[in-house]
Point group: C2
Chain length 336, copies 2
Amino acid sequence: MTPDPAPPAPGDAPRASAFPEYRRDPVTGRWAVVAPARALRPLVPHPAPADPEPPADCPFCPGNEHDTPGELFADRDPGTRANGPGWRLRVVPNRYPAVEPDAPAVGRHEVVIACPEHVTRAAELPRGAYRGLFRAYRERIRAHAADPRLGYTLAFKNVGAAAGASLAHAHAQLVATPFVPPVVAEELTRSEEHHARTGRCVFCELIATEASGPRRICETAGVLAVTAFAPRFAYEVWVLPKAHAARFETTADADVGELAGVVRRVVQAQDAVLGPVAFNWVLHTAPLRSAELPHYHWHLEILPRTATPAGLEWGGGCFVTTVAPEEAAGQLRGHV
Amino acid sequence: MTPDPAPPAPGDAPRASAFPEYRRDPVTGRWAVVAPARALRPLVPHPAPADPEPPADCPFCPGNEHDTPGELFADRDPGTRANGPGWRLRVVPNRYPAVEPDAPAVGRHEVVIACPEHVTRAAELPRGAYRGLFRAYRERIRAHAADPRLGYTLAFKNVGAAAGASLAHAHAQLVATPFVPPVVAEELTRSEEHHARTGRCVFCELIATEASGPRRICETAGVLAVTAFAPRFAYEVWVLPKAHAARFETTADADVGELAGVVRRVVQAQDAVLGPVAFNWVLHTAPLRSAELPHYHWHLEILPRTATPAGLEWGGGCFVTTVAPEEAAGQLRGHV
């Protein structure tokens, strides 16, 4: 087996003459090929489609609450009843669950309906909906932690059919499973090894390096957004809290609001640069009921569908990117 | 962290009452959720599109050899010249390479043009084209092994825009890199651990179990095709040589022909069940210049695009499948 070549360290300036370039993500070990020459083949972001459903038939619109299973959590006007109108956000079980609370293979599959208005473009969601959505993630993760059969809650959002969304009304999801999903398990293992070797959190190192580097997009006092060093998709963005914290569910209200604001700015910038692009975001946090881990650091990954993964990606786990992350960050910086 | 629940062992019969069901692949450790209830949401295979290009403009058709870089390998009629007509198969550098032979980050990106006829539907490719294609993989892997800077060659085929193909004329690809792609590296590590623990090849065990089980599709004297126990996509198929062999490039001509025949039958069966579906196949073999490894076993994975991976898949590495692999195998058996 050939040893890995030394990848350029995060923080290196882009070197136009060195393309194509191999990059290995310091957190996950994933390989990316940054190959702008392939951009001769046009980048075609997969659009998030216009809403095929009129609001009258939308199960997530007010008045249609009976079209979803009964709500698990809601932000409601005083005096309104569960499963009726008068809400700003609802969490309900997924009607077509991948996993179920009472099946032999226990799990939870929940939908966060982010706002009552039939907003379909993530960039147009009001700031309050972003804030409510991340607070709902936090509350549901806390609720799942009370069930000892569950080991992990993966919180994510799919936008557009090309990113796996089947309904257009703005929503997000949570899936809780007995096991830690493999992508997160890999991050946990590798970050623990890094900590054992260096005494430091690999994410804290990344934040220290990236905050002043060419992949920085924007930041607040407590939150940093950067393009991924070794992306799976062009314009992939990671959003991280600057202070070390392994468990998202311990985040205070004010800090959730700060995160929501940064994520909204990034989504709006991606929309401005790429058009109404399909995307997923996913929250990576420590397993349910973890101790505060010194090596792990929660963060949000935003993956716009700017390419179609093919044999090299599915079969090899190597991702070809035609827009350098430094170039993508520069474009996004112009719109945050 | 919660310990992994014991997954059902490969070879267990399907248990309709146990759905949804978690399955962990014994080779890769990937998790799948087999959740037929979600099939209430219709399975929509992504079609391989009709050819948008007339053959006259197709760079892979005879007479247009000047539209590709000069050929690296060909199966030609006696007396014909390189880069002119008279060929049955050509291998050329990719015109839009992800990696390049002379870049600082060395690599090879090659295209196998599988037949001179403008065939666009993989199920309609003649048997000779399948045989030629796998022989070309073997020859190019042998050629790459002579370059000590290269560590691995990933051979694959993309069919349909939804699986990342940009040209319709039947073709396949190879990408050689200095490093072993992460998905293969993970298989190597886990199969080596399995061998150290048990003294056996995990793939040989899988073959012994699956050959008489509900996921068997078809076989010949030397080759077995089965649906994957914990699939990424519904109707995912693995094709394996029955005799232990780590390195595809050591396969004899007759055995390559047998493999080609089985792969063609599987592709035709998938086409019969799913329609002209977009798919990738990928050859997993040992790294270039490996010794014959007791723990690794080359095989071909065929991944039809029967679903759109979303947040759970990209962010967690958990794959939801709405058609049980046993059901899929039964359907495919009806068409091989």
